[in-house]
């Protein structure tokens, strides 16, 4: 929906391709773009302000190496800074630190509907996979059927659930559950709590009392990735009342850019630990700062992609192709080469996941199998055919289909794809002002097209 930051920065820097140093004048516009991108991603207004300040300081005077373009250098600075704030490059917080004296007690907290109960279940599943004996505790006595919800999840997971349907005292339930856990030799106790507003003093006090009663090893603040500007207020209040030990960001399987992650990290200073990526109990992953940074900037994991591309594509190859492309357009040999480059960078599936807007596309027609098919078709062509798509009449197409064990429709599709590619390349060339350098935007467009 929004043009990505990359596209915008490309535009900004086009005027100054020759520039060798980033300075106050040439980054003002770019900083504005970054600011917009962050605000569109729901990063809090004030947090954005601070961030822009530090990026500006870092970017000033940075030299643009010959091999790179100013937008690449700039975006890397922005990205790196974001990664740093979110936890740094060698992040290792995506886990639960278990108490050497079991049971380890984990308490969930957060706004209504943020995903506490679901995440409690997912966490139980994760720890059970690590052979831990887990107890889930139904500490939400307010929401209709909250206990049933946790018990249903417990049944799915085959996990013990402690509940007390008679009790109207959430603090006591937690304390009783802990005693039960000790008696039954549980390794981990996960306490679900009712959703509450950070401004609800009574219910916030209840959480504090629960904390005092069971002294949790982990207090996990659960936030919805779609949260907007208010994330700072909510996270700040919860953290001030409870001293959270970590953050879970849920509903990351949607297309929210998730700027709340940055806001929450900034106001709490607490590590982001896990992300929820679906409603199923297994859809739960460790948090990675670099992926989150790219997502917030709206560029998929484009930086990783560029780095991998730079590592795996021999310069010669890329230049050759650029030159050819400029002169004659692409043929099937080039196509094969391109696919091979992509293959070198990692599986198609992992690449697709890094691309904005494609993160959720089901792999369907672009999986590895499809790639094998394409390879087979091209290998069944004569040299002459590979260089001259135009001569592929129906007789030749039938033969190729037979030779590659595919159908004529498959062959037709590939021919169309090549034509499409050529059309795209032409457009892209125009957009890039004639430059043939392999850059992130181009890589993305290229991949998107498939």
């Amino acid at each position: 929906m929004f043009a990505t930051l990359n596209d915008k920065l490309n535009g900004v820097f086009k005027k100054l391709k020759k520039q060798v140093r980033l300075d106050e004048n040439n980054i003002t516009e770019a900083l504005k773009m970054v600011r917009m991108a962050l605000l569109e991603a729901d990063v809090n207004y004030k947090v954005v302000k601070n961030f822009i300040g530090s990026v500006q300081a870092k970017a000033m005077g940075e030299e643009v190496l010959k091999s790179l373009t100013p937008d690449q250098v700039f975006i890397k600075i922005v990205h790196d800074e974001l990664v740093e704030i979110l936890g740094g490059k060698d992040y290792d917080e995506g886990k639960i630190r278990l108490n050497s004296q079991p049971p380890t007690v984990i308490m969930m907290a957060g706004l209504q509907g943020s995903g506490k109960t679901t995440s409690a279940g997912k966490l139980a599943g994760l720890l059970m996979k690590q052979k831990r004996n887990v107890l889930l505790v139904a500490g939400d006595i307010y929401r209709p059927a909250a206990i049933d919800q946790l018990e249903t999840l417990g049944k799915q997971l085959n996990c013990d659930v402690y509940s007390d349907r008679q009790s109207r005292d959430a603090v006591k339930i937690a304390a009783d559950a802990l005693a039960y856990a000790k008696k039954t030799a549980k390794d981990v106790v996960i306490i679900d709590t009712a959703g509450r507003l950070h401004i609800d003093e009574e219910l916030m006090a209840e959480l504090v009392r629960t904390k005092e009663a069971v002294t949790p090893d982990e207090i996990l603040f659960v936030a919805d990735a779609m949260t907007g500007q208010d994330a700072v207020n909510v996270a700040k209040s919860f953290n001030e009342s409870l001293e959270a030990t970590g953050i879970i960001l849920t509903k990351m399987d949607g297309d929210a850019r998730g700027g709340a992650a940055l806001s929450i990290k900034e106001v709490t200073g607490k590590p982001l630990k896990f992300i929820g990526t679906g409603e199923k109990m297994t859809e739960f992953e460790a948090f990675y700062p670099d992926r989150m940074a790219s997502r917030i900037l709206g560029m998929g994991d484009i930086v990783t992609l560029v780095e991998r591309a730079q590592e795996s594509i021999e310069d010669g190859d890329a230049e050759d192709m650029a030159e050819k492309m400029a002169k004659h357009g692409l043929d099937f040999d080039d196509m094969l080469k391109q696919f091979k480059m992509i293959k070198k960078m990692g599986s198609l599936e992992s690449i697709m996941r890094m691309i904005p807007g494609l993160g959720n596309v089901s792999m369907g027609d672009m999986d590895e199998k499809q790639f094998k098919k394409i390879e087979a078709i091209i290998f069944s062509m004569t040299r002459h055919e590979r260089k001259n798509a135009k001569i592929l009449n129906s007789g030749r197409r039938k033969r190729i289909a037979r030779g590659s064990g595919t159908s004529v429709a498959d062959v037709n599709r590939l021919v169309n794809q090549l034509n499409q590619m050529n059309k795209m390349m032409k457009q892209m060339k125009k957009k890039l002002g004639g430059s043939n350098k392999l850059n992130p935007a181009m890589m993305r467009d290229f991949l998107k097209m498939r």
Binding site: P144, G228, D230, D253
Partner: protein, 332 residues
């Protein structure tokens, strides 16, 4: 024109000439009843000081920046904020807005005009009147349904619920607890059954038993999930087999806490199932729900209700003026 038109909202939000010829006597009475329910007011969202404008004599850059901050932190979004501020910039430049007070009023009017579209319920002579409630996960669909059911029931309308969320753990139990409290029946099947079938059954049964209103719960789904959105389309298709104009209302429930993704939600749900209204929940928190301004501006789909608590009575019809006042109330 001008400031005072803001106060004329109550006339504007009346259904005016809705439903014309086809609305029979009985259906006019029916909507009369609905309207009574809708006219309940509460001062909860109004009042407070307006700090930004306090003690200012001039419209200067500082003021404009503070306004920008106010708008952005209310989740109005960059694009809509720029659009709103641009719309008054001209007047500032031409000096027709002389002081901060004028500016504030112009901005309020601008936003009010966007939001103040007819938000009466769709009218029909069909019985049951079928409402389908949709949205992403955890926004407050099920709770809002319970609140609406109570409202309709209090109008003396025979109201029934359909447990269309057959997926989420204990979703059916949750709806049943609410239905018990409100004392309305629920049509349900077992967990994991086909949601469209449940709703089809519910319409059939409401027809047979002469129910006035049927409110259908659906599972929360992110708008990016193609299969789940298809399922929603199927529910609509199947409902139409039993009652061609059903669902008469398709309400998208949006969480006031959510940011710019709300726009993506609204666009996609509207595209796939055609929305007739929005419900904005969780306004009892500190989030202002400003994202709806851009949504209403873009889709021209009205906000019909707001939710402001977990209690059964914490729902009321949306009032554009109250909303705008609350937006500018920086003390909240």
């Amino acid at each position: 024109m001008g400031f005072f038109s803001i106060f004329k909202k109550s006339e504007k939000t009346e259904p005016e000439k809705q439903g014309q010829q086809e609305s029979s006597e009985s259906s006019a009475g029916f909507f009369q009843k609905l309207k009574q329910g809708l006219s309940k007011t509460s001062g909860k969202l109004v009042g407070g000081m307006e700090n930004i404008f306090l003690g200012r004599k001039e419209i200067d850059d500082d003021l404009l920046e503070e306004l920008e901050e106010l708008f952005i932190t209310s989740d109005i979004g960059v694009e809509t904020t720029m659009k709103i501020i641009d719309s008054v910039r001209d007047q500032v430049d031409r000096k027709t807005l002389k002081n901060p007070e004028d500016l504030k009023n112009a901005l309020k009017e601008q936003i009010f005009n966007i939001l103040n579209i007819d938000n009466s319920l769709v009218q029909t002579a069909d019985r049951p009147y079928v409402m389908m409630v949709v949205g992403v996960n955890g926004t407050g669909k099920t709770t809002s349904i319970a609140k609406m059911a109570k409202m309709f029931k209090e109008q003396g309308l025979k109201t029934c619920l359909a447990a269309g969320d057959t997926f989420r753990a204990a979703a059916i139990d949750q709806l049943c607890v609410w239905a018990d409290r409100v004392d309305v029946p629920v049509v349900k099947q077992s967990a994991g059954s086909d949601s469209a079938a449940v709703i089809f059954d519910a319409i059939q049964s409401c027809k047979a038993k002469n129910f006035d209103v049927l409110i259908c719960d659906t599972a929360g789904r992110l708008q990016t999930k193609v299969n789940l959105m298809k399922e929603l389309e199927k529910i609509v298709r199947v409902a139409k087999k039993e009652l061609p104009d059903a669902p008469h209302e398709v309400l998208l429930v949006l969480d006031a806490t959510s940011g710019q993704n709300a726009l993506s939600q609204a666009l996609k749900f509207h595209e796939d199932v055609g929305l007739t209204g929005l419900v904005l929940t969780k306004l009892d928190g500190t989030a202002k729900g400003g994202a709806i301004i851009g949504i209403v501006d873009e889709l021209r789909v009205p906000v019909k209700f707001i939710g402001f608590g977990e209690g059964i009575d914490d729902l009321k019809p949306f009032d554009a003026q109250n909303f705008v006042e609350a937006l500018f109330d920086t003390n909240r």
